[in-house]
Symmetry: C2
Subunit: 308 residues, 2 copies
């Protein structure tokens, strides 16, 4: 079975949307990536850190999804990373109400021995130095290293970020971030620029407008499923990344054609994530439900035009 090493926050989120609000619930990029990847036949591990305020029931939940937690450091007397945000009515924009780094401030990731030869490494959104440290600890060059990042690191730690970008195979960022990173408005030009920085594959996430995959002169577009209701967008991008990484780990095939499939799987899982608050929907998602919805993705874009 393929091995997937996940780096990302395991955290508390408190979320407010037009539909309601939550207390502190399970959240974090690493959590969403892990839950999404668990939809595939993979051995996965999360490298992360929490405080001893992190409930056993959350640990049990992640373990029950076949996620190895031996590299999830639990800091005695420490507090778990906490994020709180309020979404606007259109659910496309949000205000951050609180970001408490807590134990994340001094986090030194340690890649566990049994995952130092992972097939795929998924570097969730974190300080580039943490991402870099994980890459450097790998004993065998992974088949694929995937990096997720955001504008915050472009603003504050650009040099370090560019160092990581040089060493990875796939980068996933959103359209505005791709423009910021390259000073190119056209996403086609931005993706070409980013490929020159290192990654062979560039995935540009456009939220409700889908995602684009660029590789050399090839472009593939995966739509987002048009939904009647988006309840809570938190974790959708990480779920996308987790589905993408999970599928590639299961299939251990990193061709452009298979990356196309991986993007569809990622989009598919993200469409479930937003149906409930936080991780709720992903905790209980059945594989048959996911397969069923893939049919809708196929119907959504397939056409039989005759080409002369």
């Amino acid at each position: 079975m393929g091995k997937l090493l996940i780096i990302g926050t395991v955290a508390f989120d408190a979320i407010e949307t037009p539909f309601g609000k939550t207390d502190k619930i399970l959240g974090g990029a690493g959590t969403f990536i892990g839950l999404a990847a668990s939809q595939f036949n993979v051995d996965s591990a999360i490298v992360s850190v929490v405080g001893d305020d992190f409930p056993q029931e959350y640990l049990d939940l992640l373990s029950s999804k076949n996620i190895d937690l031996s590299a999830l450091e639990i800091v005695k007397g420490g507090k778990t990373f906490f994020w709180s945000g309020r979404y606007h009515n259109d659910l496309n924009t949000r205000d951050t109400l609180a970001t408490e780094l807590n134990v994340l401030a001094d986090f030194n990731p340690v890649v566990p021995e049994n995952f130092a030869d992972a097939d795929v490494v998924m570097l969730g959104n974190l300080h580039p130095n943490i991402q870099l440290s994980v890459v450097d600890q790998m004993k065998v060059r992974p088949k694929l290293i995937i990096l997720d990042t955001m504008n915050f690191w472009m603003d504050n730690t650009l040099d370090e970020l560019l160092q990581v970008i040089k060493k990875i195979d796939v980068i996933t960022i959103n359209d505005e971030e791709a423009r910021q990173l390259t000073n190119e408005y056209s996403l086609v030009k931005a993706a070409a620029q980013i490929q020159k920085m290192g990654p062979k594959y560039v995935v540009i996430k456009k939220g409700e407008h889908g995602a684009l995959l660029f590789h050399e002169d090839n472009i593939f577009f995966a739509p987002a499923l048009p939904l009647e209701e988006v309840f809570d967008p938190t974790g959708a991008g990480d779920t996308f990344a987790g589905g993408f990484a999970g599928y590639l780990t299961e299939t251990r095939n990193v061709s452009f054609n298979n990356l196309k499939n991986a993007i569809i799987h990622g989009s598919n899982l993200a469409s479930f994530c937003v149906e409930r608050f936080g991780t709720e929907r992903m905790e209980n998602l059945k594989r048959e439900e996911a397969s069923q919805r893939l049919l809708q993705f196929k119907k959504l874009t397939q056409f039989d035009i005759e080409l002369q």
Copy 2:
């Protein structure tokens, strides 16, 4: 050969983009629709009005594309409708610098005898009363009546607009307009609402993010081709509509599957339109070029995921 009746402005445009500016050049919804539809084997006619300041060379150009101009009224001593706009750097937003209705202010459309039995009627963006008058003049109920409109008419002539919407088969509007018309943020819900107002098919245009086709419980998504350079977006929406209408007129098949193909053709032609100022690219577009690019559309969204 299928007959397509087009209603829409034939006009002068003056355009400013980050790449340059034009004097008064050929423009108007009817013009762009006609040029796009001329990529197909159809007999088309434009019902519209111009002043006698409208150059013979523009008339000759349209005639050379097999567009019947016998219902294009030329008002002696009148001035042609003029629009001027300036696009912002992102090319997604623009300021209107001038709108001079001129001869359009007193326009009474007259459907020519030989097109009163047209297969398809394409009602370009105009006052709903003009659109309604054309529908009422048809001797035979067309196979398909397509309506394009915009927020201006929702703001100022909503009752009249709802009257037209009741009588047509396909409406094409953009995402913001769909939301405005229905007070629904979700496009899935908005499209369902609009179908209750009359049209069996709802096309929601999302510009660079593609277009959605809704019919009962079916959804189809056509991407916009990711382009290195968008030079001038003027007329892209009308070109989309013209390609959509032209293809359906040629094939005379108004099934959901064929409407999917029509949307792809419309998106394809729109991707050419934006490559040059105004009508320039569409005036010279060869059919082989258009067919060639259709292959790119197919590659862009086709995937071979195995579905269990």
